[in-house]
Amino acid sequence: MSALLEIDNVTKRFGGLCAISNCHVRVESGHTHGIIGPNGAGKTTLFNLITGIYKPTEGDIRFRSESIAGLRPGRIALKGIGRTFQNIRLLNNQSVLDNVRIAYDSQLHYSPVEAMLRLPRLGRDEKQSIGESLELLKPFGLADHAHGLASELPYGSQRKLEIARALALKPDLLLLDEPAAGMNTGETADLTEFLRWVKEHFKVTLVLIEHHMHLVMNLCDRITVLDFGQPIADGTPEEIRANPRVIAAYLGGTGDED
């Protein structure tokens, strides 16, 4: 069986700077795949390549065996790839509910003319979209704040709203860029359980960038370690933990010391 997502020999250069070079990653369907590596290793660049914000300089990216390299970001999202951002990017002046509704809108099929004349199909579609969006907010503990502004939510809830919003797209693949950033140990443990539940309940494949090793080791089926834009290791959490190159990349040194 071929992988859900294949990053095939991808290189991304910004002028003279090579952010990603000859990168191979395979994400199996149903897995939770961790991407780890020191700051500046190119993890977020990799997400931006997958979601079409950047185009690869070389190489190909395939989603369900279909090349998505070079497609516009909106098109890639609609193919079933949802994401969150390292620096939360909510629509701050919109309500919590509307943040989710906008992602849900891609499943509504009324035309511009039906919208401008406000024909009956619009009412039916919108009612359903509001209902399902509210339903989606419930497990995230956001239903009570549905009509408040997204910017008024506490930080942790904003992170959750970003995940809820990505799930409203009904994606097969969910990319999470440092979901536990800024969380303490207790919150991170809660998040681990929560992501496990998300994966089961929404049947998504997860790829996550994370620095909290506890979360990564607990949650991931496979881990890819990036350093200077190149994968230096790929394997199960146990293999990664024992890999001397990984230890060297994280702690410095040559990796021969132990």
Binding site: R72, G74, A77, R89, D105, R118, K127
Partner: protein, 324 residues
């Protein structure tokens, strides 16, 4: 008092009632001299300005771009419709709405082209493109002798009446309000808030930009068509000053607000004429623009910026808000 006001704001019957009453008065005024000619001109101008202001708000307010080209779309509608009524269509007053629609369509076609440019550029750079577009359009009219060149187009019948203006104001408000409270409107707003996030949410960004520009320029053209069948038109009228006037109305009333746009257009037009009556005609843009500076300092989003009159909210959205 505030309880009474909120009761008033929630009443779903007031807006339809105002539309019917307004229509009745407009038709009555057309046949009976209940308003002086001067008052009628002011009322029609207010109507045209509301159409201009609401339609520009779609691009500058809801979508958050900065277009200074709206006078260009207005002139496209003005000239196209005038050419239809004076040269191409038989001289029958009943064909006036057809000419108005042609004016709007012509503006919308050019608006579509501008939307294509907006895929590549944003913000300041798009603003400069709209400025260049405005200059191209205005200079083109000056160079086309078929429409009178710099002297302007003569012999246009004065078909624009109070009922027609009121009708087009209602159509504009109806269409733009419906668009704004649909998935397309949410997409347009998402582009303003964060285009990268919008993309990640599967928003069809290009479709939304095209819609915003096409609808905005269509109604800009409609306003132009109404203007040209009331006033003598020449290219000079549709210059950057005209665009600036519309911008002042939009930002005075408030971005992303239909109620604000009506307020902005009414206040601006009223002051515009009132200052002339006070003998300050030449100073009015100094005064009105100074007003805008003060507004930007103390209330940067305009009088009703980002706030909407409950009358304009669809029932579905209102119900959602009340539950909370």
């Amino acid at each position: 008092m505030s309880a009474f006001l909120s009761q008033l704001a929630r009443n779903r019957w007031i807006l339809p009632a105002l539309v019917v009453i307004g229509f009745a008065i407009a038709i009555l005024a057309h046949y009976q001299p209940i308003f002086s000619g001067y008052t009628q001109i002011i009322l029609i101008t207010i109507g045209i300005n509301i159409i201009l202001c609401v339609s520009l708000n779609l691009v500058n307010g809801y979508m958050g771009e900065f277009s200074v080209g709206h006078a260009g779309f207005m002139s496209l509608g003005a000239y196209t419709s005038a050419v239809f009524t004076t040269k191409w269509l038989p001289d029958i007053p009943m064909l006036f709405p057809v000419a108005v629609i042609f004016g709007g369509v012509m503006a919308a076609i050019i608006g579509f082209l501008l939307a294509l440019l907006s895929f590549k550029t944003r913000g300041d750079y798009l603003a400069i493109i709209t400025l260049a577009f405005l200059m191209i359009v205005k200079s083109s009219w000056e160079n086309i002798s078929y429409v009178g060149g710099p002297a302007g187009l003569l012999g246009v019948d004065k078909y624009t009446t109070l009922p027609w203006t009121f009708f087009w104001v209602v159509v504009t408000m109806f269409v733009i309000r419906n668009l704004v409270y649909s998935k397309f409107g949410r997409a347009i707003i998402a582009i303003r808030e964060d285009e990268i996030a919008a993309n990640a949410m599967g928003v069809r960004v290009r479709e939304a930009k095209i819609l915003a520009f096409v609808v905005s320029s269509f109604f800009g053209g409609v306003a132009g068509a109404l203007y040209s069948h009331l006033n003598f038109i020449n290219p000079k009228y549709f210059d950057i000053m005209k665009s600036t006037e519309i911008l002042v109305m939009v930002y005075l009333g408030g971005i992303s607000s239909l109620g604000g746009s009506i307020l902005g257009a009414v206040v601006f037009t009223f002051l515009f004429y009132q200052l002339e009556n006070l003998g300050l005609g030449y100073w009015r843009m100094v005064i009105l623009s100074s007003l805008l500076i003060l507004l930007m300092l103390f209330r940067p989003r305009g009088i009703m910026g980002m706030k909407e009159l409950a009358w304009f909210l669809p029932k579905l959205e209102l119900k959602e808000r009340r539950q909370s």
